[in-house]
């Protein structure tokens, strides 16, 4: 039985249909990387899964429970679906620790001492043991993004969604964030990752989904997709990431 199931998902903004009949499933512990050109609907897909966007057709199931288009208790569903954005939006008026504790304490009403201990352990693990009392403005982009990941993890979500979490970072900072994701994958976290780092995708993914113009063009293993893409669209897309040597 799949942990997360997306069935015939359709999403449109007014007339414009962004996602056309998307179906796939995610097993517990699986890491799925979604790739595709800009504007193909990758981010929208993630936003639909945790209910930031309403959907026009199909269903999304988490643990066999319908989670799409719910209105009343969507905040309870979102506690099970963690999400990290490209723009690492920490709350600027709170220090790092309070940023992390807000959800567990206020939304989940968990015990403060326990959550705090967990938060500090996580900060240690992502290499920020001394930043618990810093404010977001005092951190670099990569550090902020790692805090944002810890903030999502401390909610104990069943599945984590990462929406181009390194797109706004300098190259050196990209590495430190991707290392954290690698680490989580080794831990057996269930994750859906949207990224433009193909080498990283190849290394971390159990399954790659190639999305183009709102449709799943390919859904296969990373080895298959990166070495022998089945579709012409896939081949063209991958060519964007390689360069031929022109000068001798």
């Amino acid at each position: 039985m799949a942990l997360l199931e997306v069935q015939h998902l359709r999403k449109s903004f007014d007339e414009h249909e962004v996602l056309k009949d998307i179906s796939f499933s995610v097993e517990k512990g699986e890491v799925i990387v979604i790739v595709g050109p800009s504007g193909c609907g990758k981010s929208t897909l993630l936003r639909c899964i945790n209910g930031l966007e309403s959907i026009q057709g199909g269903t999304i199931l988490l643990d066999d429970e319908v989670i799409s288009n719910r209105t009343k208790d969507m905040h309870l569903i979102r506690q099970k679906v963690g999400m990290v954005f490209q723009s690492y939006d920490l709350f600027p008026h709170m220090n790092v620790l309070n940023n992390i504790l807000l959800g567990p304490l206020k939304a989940q009403k968990r015990n403060r001492a326990k959550v705090e201990k967990e938060a500090l352990e996580w900060l240690e693990r992502v290499g920020l043991p001394d930043k618990a009392h810093s404010y977001p403005r005092q951190l670099s982009g990569g550090q902020k993004q790692r805090v944002a990941i810890v903030r999502a993890l401390c909610m104990h979500p069943e599945v984590m969604l990462f929406d181009e979490v390194t797109a706004a970072l300098d190259p050196e900072m990209v590495r430190e964030v991707l290392d954290v994701l690698m680490n989580l994958a080794e831990d057996g976290k269930t994750m859906l990752i949207v990224t433009h780092h193909m080498e990283f995708a190849r290394a971390v993914a159990d399954k790659v989904i190639f999305l183009d113009s709102g449709l799943i063009v390919e859904e296969t293993t990373p080895a298959q997709f990166f070495n022998h893409p089945a579709s012409e669209r896939g081949r063209k897309f991958l060519q964007n990431f390689t360069f031929e040597i022109r000068k001798k």
């Binding site: 506690q79 709350f91 008026h93 206020k106």
Partner: protein, 220 residues
């Protein structure tokens, strides 16, 4: 300059200053509440209430306090509502201040970006919790300079209270000029009184600004 005269009338000014501050304080507190409620109504786009609020704001901002007080004091008795001068002043100040406060608060609420709200949603907070823990604290620190400007503006607006026979600072000064013809002394004391009232307020404002904005903006 007649210093014995000044010495004699200082108690009158002190008394008037207390009354002025008393009315101003109540009026400002009520404006704060009215402003906050109106700002939230407009922020959440609550139907019907939103239209009423917009009408109130236009009416309040586009008429002078003087005229509003005239209306309260002289027109309302004709329909059987009799208010004391002080009551009129409190209501008038609140009516005027509410809309100014609303504009300050609403623009501050709008500065908190959509992604902040989505981040709050993603950690499973309810709408009310997002407002309380994420939007309001940030909006408050943004609104402090505007809020303080409003407070000082409203304190200065109290100078029209004398027209509804409330013995505020202006009233005392005009009274003394009329009785003793000591224009220079009376006006000097008047200006000085307002200055002494407002200086601590503006100092408190800068202090509050530094304290409340530290987290978000650092020591700037």
């Amino acid at each position: 300059m007649d210093f014995t005269f000044i010495k004699q009338v200082i108690p009158l000014y002190t008394e008037a200053a207390w009354l002025t501050m008393h009315i101003a304080l109540i009026g400002i507190l009520l404006s704060l509440i009215v402003g906050l409620i109106c700002a939230l109504i407009l922020y959440y786009r609550i139907p019907v209430l939103r239209t009423i609020t917009s009408c109130y704001i236009e009416l309040s901002r586009n008429t002078p306090l003087l005229i509003q007080l005239f209306f309260l004091y002289f027109a309302l008795p004709n329909v059987g509502i009799k208010l004391s001068g002080v009551q009129c002043c409190i209501i008038g100040l609140t009516f005027l201040g509410g809309s100014y406060m609303e504009e300050t608060f609403r623009s501050a609420l709008d500065t908190v970006g959509k992604v902040q709200i989505e981040s709050g949603q993603c950690i499973g907070l309810t709408r009310a919790q997002i407002m309380r823990y994420i939007v309001l604290p940030q909006a408050v620190s943004v609104s402090i300079p505007g809020f303080c400007a409003n407070v000082m503006f409203l304190i200065k607006e109290t100078s029209v209270f004398s027209i509804v026979a409330v013995a505020d600072l202006m009233y005392v000064a005009k009274d003394l000029i009329g009785l003793y013809y000591k224009t220079d002394e009376a006006l000097l004391l008047l200006a000085l009184s307002y200055f002494i009232l407002l200086l601590p307020v503006s100092m408190l404002a800068s202090y509050a600004e530094r304290r409340l904005r530290y987290a978000q903006f650092g020591n700037t």
